[in-house]
Amino acid sequence: MNPTSKDMKGIMDKSSYRLLQLLSLAWLACRPTCSSITTYGTIIPQSPLVEIGKEFTATCVVYKAAKATAEDIYWKLKNVTVPKEQYTKINDSAVSVTITITNETANWLLCEKKGSPLNRNQVIHGILLTKGYPPEKPVNLSCMAVQSGRKISSNVTCTWQPGTRDEILKTTYTLFGSLIVSNKSGKAHRSSGYIDFGTFPSFMQLAMWVEVENKLGKVRSDILDIYAADLVKTNPPSDVNILSENNFSRTLLVSWKHPIHVTYVTLKYNIRFCTVGSGDWTEVPPNDTESYKESFRLQYLKPDMEYVVQVRCIHHMGYGYWSDWSANSTARTPEDKPTSKPDLWRVIIPSQVKSERRVQVMCKDPVESNGRIQGYSIKIQDGNWETVAVNDSDLDSRSQERKIIPLYQIPWSDKRRGLIELKAWNSVGESPQASLVIPKLTQEPPSVEWLSWFTQQGRLWVKWQPPNVTATGEPYRSEVTEYILEWVSVSDGAMDWQRERRHTRTAAIKGNLQKFNRYNISVYPMYSGWTGKPLTIAAFLEQGAPLEGPSVKVRRTGKNDAELEWMEIPLDKQRGFITNYTIFFITGGKEHSIVVSTDTYSYTVKRMASNSKYVVRVMASTVQGSTNSSDLSFNTLMYVLCVYPSAPGQIEAIVVSVSISFLFSVVLTMLCCIYKMDSIKKKIWPPVPDPSNSTIAKWSPDFTSKADTPNESALGDVSIVEVDVFDRKSLCEEDKAGLPLKKDKYLSEEHSSGIGGSSCLSSPHQSVSDSDEGGDEGQTTASTVQYSSVVASCGYKGQTPCPLPQSGSSQTPSFTRSESTQPLLDSEEHPEGPESQRYLRNPYFGRLPGGNNGDSGDLEDLNQMEMKKQGLALRRFCPLEEDFQQTTPTEEGHSPDGQPGPDPSYMPQLSGYRPQC
């Protein structure tokens, strides 16, 4: 097979490369012999410039001095050894390596000799790799020559888009420009440059290009073959003037001057205009200003409107660039009479008077007022035309937002129907007439079927369904002619309205609505001037979180529940529709929440822990966010003290437990009483000696003979002996003098009294006190019955009891006195049987004090008084007194004045007690 010429060429190239390489190696091999510095080898090529992304091959040649062969050589990129697979052995002393250059490739390529285990590797030679990219081709070259003075500047400035790669290597940019007559060039920056042609090559053809060069090569952009006029950008037209002409209220004449002579550039123009402050430019159709002219008449403008006009120019064939717009020039069109109706509307205000309303008539300037509205002419029903002058200087056609002008407020009966007519006028003339019918309240045409709203692109839209008008015979026409959209701000009451055409079903509110503000939007269908019933809906342009949370308070706190109550957030602070309320209650670090509907303003939180601290807040939410109320802390109760219908079972349990406790305590008390009855009885009702069992009673019949002859005076001889039953010591002798001092003691202690020689009779202590103090009734009660009890036997202090002849008993009971008010036992009060009879038979017991006659005297009277006080009980002891009188007569048995004592039974207590034996 014969090789082709191409193959032959390739073979020749390879062989020539080999030959060149061998020659180089031979030269390098002899080089160390020529050099004075001993080296171990070298790398070919030296300090190469390598292109990133391409392969690079280097060859290391080892000299004899290195004492190494090709097998001992290996390559390193800085510290990283190049794999053996990339090596190519050329001969015994030369090894080449091929590496792909990347951005990360190290700069140093080293050729090293493998060292022995004892020696380190030896670097034979190294080269520094200079990496870089070749230059990139610039694109999007464009050039421009601007006007300078009256000519086009000779400098042509060009811009282009350079390459996107980093310029690692130094790169130069040169801009070239070629004419038929000459070539030009100039140094440039990376993306721009200019050429000075000396004279701008008007009407000539140019070629422009950019050359980029670095050490890795040179590249040229595409040639921009361009006609010189394509480079031109002139100044904007100069001396732009606007002329306003009378009687031409809708036109303005604009004039200007060419910025450059026509021999250089033939221009065409572009004109734009707008009203002052609007910024909404309107361009005159380019075809109208194509010709080389210096004036133009703007048409179809609005009267009495200030306009801003700007003009620019370009080569008449469209070559080159548009000039900048000229500076603003302003002028005002002349006034014209209003050409549209004023916007007449009314607001119905409820009146205090029944069957009457108030109508506020208002209006806005005509849309085409064509000048400053100076006043209005209004006529109501059949009245005369009245003039309302407008002095507000702001109300002119220049204001973008038409102001609402209140005209009249008049009372209007519900049964009245009326027509309102209105005309506006300015300095030139009157507007067409607007009219509005206010129907009777009962004849109002129907409203729209339904009404809804939504927001879109930052505007509030309203959608409605037209009214279903089928009624006939009504005074109004049954066709809707237009709709009026009225909106009222809830926060400040500001209102406005706009008109929509009869076929409109959806409309955007054109007013300046505020975000987060609630608006009541009403749609009124209009029937040839008749105002239909409105349909109203609340809406927001944009909702937000409420401005403040609800005001919460705890209405009631229970053991396991609490009733919360909050107020509705004021409408102007809701900033949206409240969707729900969320109640948060926190205790012990845990938070719970309950969501309730928007119409809920109180809630009872149940299943709460008793006697616990709770923090509660209520969050009001809208679709756009939520706002919390302030935290409210309270404690649940430990016990429920009040009866509430909310916890009946709990209350019953409390009542039952209290009742059971009470019954238990009662039963326990009763048991104690029963068990301790005797002691209690003794405490409360000391045992009263039963006279029937008394030895005296037994004894009395034996003394009947003596008693039959009672000596009343002998009562003063009765002595009462007080005996300490424990000491069994008689006070008669020991404390005779100190007895009065111990009287109090005696009042509270039991007393025993010795009666006669055989029995001890206790006389009522109270009587003793009374006798001492002259009778204090305060210390005695008529109802008090004093008792005595037998506390000791007659064997007092070792004495032998006094023998009683009647009983012959060796022991005689003694009595202790009691002041108990306990009624006497039946046996005592109504002695029955033989004993009663025996008492009755006993003259001592049966004797009344008043029965003593004769001998007793004053003492008798006094005794009678005492007896009245002491009652019957005392009187029952009277027989004993006689006995005492007989056995122990004392001096003290008489009164100090020598009279006998008032009561013989008291006297012995003062004189002491004397032993009977």
């Binding site: 070629s178 004419l179 038929i180 007559v181 000459s182 070539n183 000396g198 004279t199 090559p201 008007s202 009407f203 000539m204 053809q205 140019l206 070629a207 073959d225 006609y227 002579h261 021999t263 250089y264």
Partner: protein, 226 residues
């Protein structure tokens, strides 16, 4: 010295020298007529139209140039322009058919270039360096050179088989070797006056040629198609 009396201006500064050097370079560039881009195949009408506009521009500038020249020559400037000088090329376009007249336009443009160059050199010695006359003279040379090349391209486009003679049709222009200041001023004024007249005639000729050649070529081209 370039064969004329030179007025020395000792106030020459470095910037003036630079300006002079720039002018010399520009003239050198104008001399290298074939250094630029080659003629492009363009439509006849637009090609001639562009040349007409360039002629109009040069003509307008030549009017201004003559006014500036007269204004800068001092007294007797009107007298200078009325002096007869036979070394200045005749501005009249000659020839019977369009090709001859086109060739005459080209030859006249080429013939006037050395005269404009010499006037520029003379006035550079007579006028201060900041004089607008020098710039306008340089611009006139620049534009005339460009116009000559455009005419040449049009000629080659319209008459591709007709050769362009190396020498001007009217023969080589003789330039007097030495002139005094008076002669220089008279010479410059006559050159500029004839130059203006030449441009006026070229405008007229190009308009005529456009009407004759472009329409007839379009007609002929259309007939060839059918």
């Amino acid at each position: 010295m370039s064969g004329h009396v030179k007025n020395m201006y000792p106030q020459l500064s470095i910037s003036q020298a630079a300006r002079t050097l720039l002018s010399l370079l520009l003239v050198a560039a104008i001399d290298s007529m074939n250094a630029g881009i080659a003629c492009r195949n363009q439509q006849c009408e637009s090609h001639i139209q562009r040349s007409s506009k360039l002629t109009r521009l040069i003509h307008m500038e030549s009017v201004d140039l003559l006014k500036i020249y007269k204004a800068s020559q001092g007294d007797l400037s009107e007298l200078f322009c009325q002096m007869p000088i036979n070394i200045v090329p005749n501005p009249n376009i000659s020839g019977l058919d369009p090709s001859e007249r086109m060739l005459s336009i080209y030859s006249h443009c080429k013939a006037f270039l050395p005269h404009l160059k010499r006037v520029t050199e003379q006035q550079r010695d007579l006028q201060p360096p900041s004089s607008p006359l020098l710039n306008n003279l340089t611009t006139a040379q620049y534009r005339t050179s460009g116009l000559a090349n455009q005419i040449k391209c049009i000629y080659q486009t319209l008459f591709p088989n007709l050769p362009i003679p190396l020498e001007p049709v009217d023969g080589p222009t003789s330039i007097h070797p030495s002139q005094n200041v008076f002669q220089q001023k008279v010479y410059g004024c006559v050159v500029l006056k004839n130059f203006k007249e030449l441009l006026s005639q070229i405008r007229h000729e190009l308009r005529t040629i456009k009407n004759q050649m472009c329409k007839s070529r379009t007609f002929a081209y259309t007939n060839a198609l059918f």
